[in-house]
Symmetry: C2
Subunit: 412 residues, 2 copies
């Protein structure tokens, strides 16, 4: 079971969580719980780090920000004890959860489970802080924002859990953000691939990495709300959304929609390099240094520039990396040879996702037509096997999502 920051925000809410956990144990399950920091706490700690050192050492950043989950782990163990359950916390370095040494965005390599399995066999609920791990040289790492989902899936895989229930502030995965489209419907099931695409384009239910890991490790993940009635009967099938394999889904859901969901993401920023010399190596002179700086470039378009000998290159990066992107590009200005660098953070990426589109043509065309009919300008396009994304002006985000939700017949 994994509980996010909203569910852990304060001792009152932690008491609810303890009730939910306790009832699962009483229903006969052995339970390990992965917890996030109280909502707002990680932001507070990250801000401290930024104030302390704008170019912070990620190893020390990890020491600071990992503390948020340490606090909630101890508090949940205490609260479980207060309602009569046996429980103890297992910090990342205690298990340990081994990671590589890429501080602030570490990857889990292995989790030792001997001690924790013995503890669970004694009837103790194991409480594990999400987001954190330990390097080979004994230093704290964190997995990057939202990393607690990945921790939960990794723990579920290591423990060979029957299910990984991710409790969050929504009660499942929807066809789109219900705050934008009132008619959005909750999905009973969604495939790993669909969830991956949805997660990667702004449906913030689960962190992308956690879904990849679940797919790789074949962990059955359920998304459900922690704001359910804590006294409701515990059924094996809870009313959330199950994330399953393609094969399992086919058995479950014969009449699949063409499109499963529509997602919007305002966290990218657009970068435009004007008049880049059109010569071999030009592109790699741009994206090589960005890759070295660990900046993920997403949509890329190359236009013909004003002169025949140069081109304009437009691409998107996470808005959070925009300052660093500009710094890297300015550092490499001579090598790249561009004339002008401009940026636009006011963009949104709208994506339609569905395994159904594998067997149906015309999904992208329907999207472009629906947007064009309402005069929404498409600034860039990218596609995958089960997703079509377009970049638009962020002011048009909600309008685009609503009209696509209707166009693909998703309105409930």
């Amino acid at each position: 079971m994994k509980f996010g920051g909203t569910s852990m925000a304060g001792t009152e809410r932690i008491r609810r969580v303890a009730g939910i956990v306790r009832r699962q144990q009483e229903a006969g399950h052995e339970v390990a719980v992965v917890v996030s920091a109280m909502s707002g706490e990680t932001d507070r700690l990250v801000n401290f780090c930024r104030e302390a050192n704008a170019l912070y050492d990620p190893a020390e950043y990890d020491v600071v920000v990992a503390s948020g989950e340490q606090v909630t782990s101890g508090l949940l163990a205490l609260t479980l004890q207060s309602i009569g359950a046996k429980a103890r916390s297992w910090l990342g370095w205690q298990l340990p959860i081994r990671t590589d040494d890429a501080h602030a965005k570490a990857r889990i390599e292995s989790i030792d489970t001997d001690e924790i399995l013995a503890s669970m066999a004694r009837g103790e609920i194991a409480v594990i802080p999400g987001f954190q791990g330990l390097t080979a040289d004994n230093r704290i790492t964190t997995l990057g924002r939202g990393g607690s989902d990945t921790s939960a899936v990794a723990v579920a895989a290591a423990l060979k859990a029957d299910r990984c229930d991710i409790y969050t502030d929504v009660d499942g995965v929807y066809t789109t953000d219900p705050r934008i489209v009132a008619k959005a419907r909750k999905l009973k099931n969604v495939t790993y691939e669909e969830m991956l695409e949805l997660a990667s384009v702004g449906s913030k239910v689960l962190q992308t990495r956690s879904v990849s890991l679940a797919m790789k490790e074949k962990v059955r993940v359920q998304v459900l709300s922690s704001f359910i009635d804590e006294n409701a009967p515990v059924a094996d099938t809870l009313p959330g959304t199950m994330i399953v394999s393609d094969e399992e889904l086919e058995g479950l859901d014969m009449e699949r929609q063409l499109i499963t969901g529509i997602a919007a993401d305002k966290n990218d920023a657009k970068v435009i390099l004007t008049a880049v010399p059109d010569r071999p190596g030009a592109v790699s002179s741009i994206f090589g240094p960005l890759a070295e700086a660990n900046i993920n470039v997403d949509m890329i378009i190359q236009n013909v520039g004003r002169a025949d000998t140069d081109t304009d290159v437009t691409f998107t990066v996470p808005a959070a990396d925009l300052d660093r992107t500009v710094a890297v590009l300015e550092e490499n200005r001579e090598t790249i040879g561009y004339q002008k660098l401009s940026t636009d953070p006011k963009v949104a990426k709208i994506s339609v996702v569905g395994v159904g589109m594998r067997s149906h043509a015309g999904v992208a065309a329907m999207m472009f037509k629906a947007l064009a009919d309402r005069g929404i300008n498409i600034q860039a396009i990218s596609t995958s096997e089960i997703k079509v994304s377009v970049l638009i002006d962020s002011d048009e985000t909600e309008l685009a999502v609503r009209l696509l939700h209707t166009a693909y017949g998703l309105d409930g």
Copy 2:
């Protein structure tokens, strides 16, 4: 160097601390820094634990409350790096700082220094969270409130440091609380024993345990303010108070005052048992059960009672333990056989302290006379080799301190 919670309260103040630390390094010192949590943070975390579970498991309590110092350690390392110093944090479990398993009030057993000494030899400033340690079975401990002073002295001893500088929100040890007596003078030097007596009677500059440890390990401790001008010249002798051995003090300060300082402590409460049968074992029937309940009894007076066959017994306990004391005495009423139990939390213990009184008679007499001259009633007396304490009505605390400060010639 050790910095307390007020000095670490927020990134602005941590920046000041980093400046002070950096200048010590630039002056040629190898530096390890022990830090407290931001002021208020430990209280916040303790409250969370109490809300989660009134009878909290101290092992999980430690997981929660140790996080405050983890945060400030990372932040100070980051801030030092931001001003060009090499620095890294060493958490209690990383060094490790080995303690016993008395969670929430653990005692330090040993500190491994191999790695940290190697790091310091490479020019890195070591930043160590105070207050925390690690049990033999790999769980976090904390040392009890104010434990960071003890951590600092223990680290200084383990590193064989030339000096342990404890930066606090006062700039040294004074003849008495300057908030009470405007003419209080800062002491250049004070002996371990004097500091112990002052610490135990309410001069809250250092935790008592840290002073005992410093005396045992012969660590030269200096108390000084972190609110000094961070650009002031770094001299080997900073303008704080040095805590040294008796022998060292004699060399430093030939013309010692008779009395070093006057302290007031309002944290005790008085308990009166009326008409206790005057028979063998009566006293042990009172204080045995209190000792078992871990309640520290301080001043004890036995008066002749109303009848020849009984006595009144008066004593003091920490005010925080008063409710428990009453409960224990009521439980044992029959065995003790007292007629009436009354309590008075409105008392203050006033102490005059000084190694000078070893070689001078009349110190106590001067105290009693000075108080009597102003009509202050003495309710109890206790003495040690270098201290005389009296219990008075707490309303008279400030008056008593002021007139004793003058009587012993301490006014600056």
